[in-house]
Symmetry: C2
């Protein structure tokens, strides 16, 4: 029977390697840390490397972190992992981190877009910095007390609590959506907004309100899930008064709910009702017809966020960025029906 090594199975330390190679611990550290040029002979260095390999030596990260006072690890806080968008953000952040020898610990704030209870208690890993993405305004409070450098993604650039900001130009995105729909002749709108009190959604609402001033706009809020969004949309579309001809959604998930509601109400998309989403996730091309939506550069977003954090850690003062977005017109939006 295979016994998987006694649990605390003493791993070899740099001192073990030193003893086995007949040198001092300091020499081992120098060689393996690649700082031996001119201080240790090529012969000795190779011997040390060989010994380390044969013993299966792996440096103790805890000890190294303690000694160096940093961990080369960043925490990425996201509202919810089930939202594909944040998976892409993570990919970008992790790639940028890896390029600089950093690691990323992912921490999904447990209450969806709600407040993060104690990210640091949960993330046992010692951290060098934090990237908080698209957090609810109240959730951000949890980070005020920390003395860690903080980069905020998708939050109010005026907020002084962060060392740097990286944003998506959601205002421009929303403007492109309204321009698109106004150009198609729509004058009656339903704005299906996210119920989460987040800066990024506030911007969308304000932009939309401004761009559609003078037209007929109703707003309904819904949590970010298909079923709830469908119910909210169904109620709003079945309500009395003139029916909107276009539904603008804060997120693809909401838009999918609207499409399902439209089908239940016997409304054809886009002939009777145009629907637009936001994010351009895989979801957008799954529904029939495919969603007109705003594409966000999710991966670049994560990458820029990590680069900003790395800059802060290097003592620089990184500029605050706003990344451009694009409108992707697809089948879910069409000319307004003749009234």
């Amino acid at each position: 029977m295979h016994t998987p090594e006694p649990i605390g199975g003493a791993r070899p330390t740099s001192r073990d390697v030193a003893r086995a190679a007949g040198v001092s611990q300091a020499t081992v550290s120098l060689v393996l840390g690649d700082k031996w040029r001119g201080r240790v002979s090529e012969r000795t260095a190779e011997a040390v490397r060989e010994t380390a390999r044969s013993l299966g030596y792996r440096p103790n990260l805890a000890a190294r972190n303690l000694r160096l006072g940093r961990t080369r690890t960043a925490l990425l806080v996201v509202p919810a992992l089930t939202n594909e968008f944040f998976a892409h953000v993570h990919t970008g952040a992790a790639a940028a981190a890896a390029a600089h020898g950093f690691g990323v610990v992912l921490y999904p704030s447990p209450d969806g877009l709600g407040p993060a209870r104690d990210p640091f208690a949960s993330a046992q890993a010692a951290l060098d910095g934090v990237i908080a993405s698209s957090m609810a305004t109240d959730a951000l409070e949890a980070f005020r007390g920390s003395d860690l450098p903080l980069v905020m993604l998708d939050s109010d650039p005026a907020d002084a609590g962060a060392a740097a900001h990286v944003n998506l130009d959601v205002a421009d995105g929303m403007r492109r959506v309204t321009d698109h729909l106004l150009g198609l002749g729509h004058r009656g709108f339903l704005h299906l907004a996210s119920a989460a009190p987040s800066w990024t959604f506030d911007v969308r609402a304000a932009t939309l309100a401004h761009a559609l001033r003078g037209t007929d706009v109703r707003t309904v809020r819904s949590p970010l899930n298909v079923v709830a969004a469908g119910e909210a949309a169904e109620r709003a579309l079945a309500a009395a008064g003139p029916r909107p001809t276009a539904v603008i959604c804060d997120d693809d998930i909401l838009a999918v709910g609207v499409c399902k509601a439209a089908r239940r109400l016997g409304l054809r998309v886009p002939e009777d009702l145009s629907v637009t989403g936001f994010d351009d996730m895989a979801l957008a091309t799954v529904v029939e017809p495919e969603l007109t939506t705003v594409r966000l550069p999710a991966e670049e977003f994560g990458r820029r966020g990590m680069e900003a954090l790395l800059a802060v850690l290097a003592g620089e003062r990184p500029p605050s960025l706003t990344l451009p977005v694009t409108l992707v017109p697809r089948g879910s939006s069409g000319p307004a029906p003749a009234s």
Copy 2:
């Protein structure tokens, strides 16, 4: 202008707290570690707590980890975060971990279901153990060299490299699918299989082959994404010979691709073609009609995996588990068309 504390801004240590409270560092450690009963007076203890609070003391995790020789942190390796299934697995694992004061570091194997290059170099965090979920068979090799306790999810239970196994009863799931479709009168099948060389998919294929012996079965492999799956299915369905009346997919993502292909070919689902998925992710209820699929207890899966790891770390020898799955019949499967 708000200067966010000098980057390396010396945080207070337990010794600083001790000095400020007029006690020794050991006393601080005892009090804050909640091991002071009978060794320190209530008055002193409260004074220490108060001082720590006012100084904003936070223990240095690196030092604690070094001292204790463990980190209370586990690594969860998943093939791809964009697959919603693994987000749920993480949720379950994180919950179980938190209940025992553990943290979870998420590591998405960068190459999808391909080999994980060096999980330990990337996860800078020191680790107590590893949970590897649904890894490709070759990717598992990356973990052989490690001396960390390893729990495998969704992999061959006969594999002796792991300290424990937790599995989903995918064989039973696939049998339920075939029973369901055979009961509906289907005799011509297409199996749209995942191209990833993973144990869990091998089991599905073998089970399907056995359950459908004697009927007409073709197999096509596709990567796990909607577009590729759609193309593969379209080719297979348009090919010469008798057309299958049911397509059995290894994953909901593949099934969605099939639905889109069916629409392009002018085939109605389920009247002309039945389609089944696997996993029961959000995707399954987004397409029209909604997918008949196999529901996997993803969150419990993650929870059980973490519990198994915790048991191993506690020196126990946890039993290998297989969790039950259920068939969720929906609109995408119906009676076989009369030929």
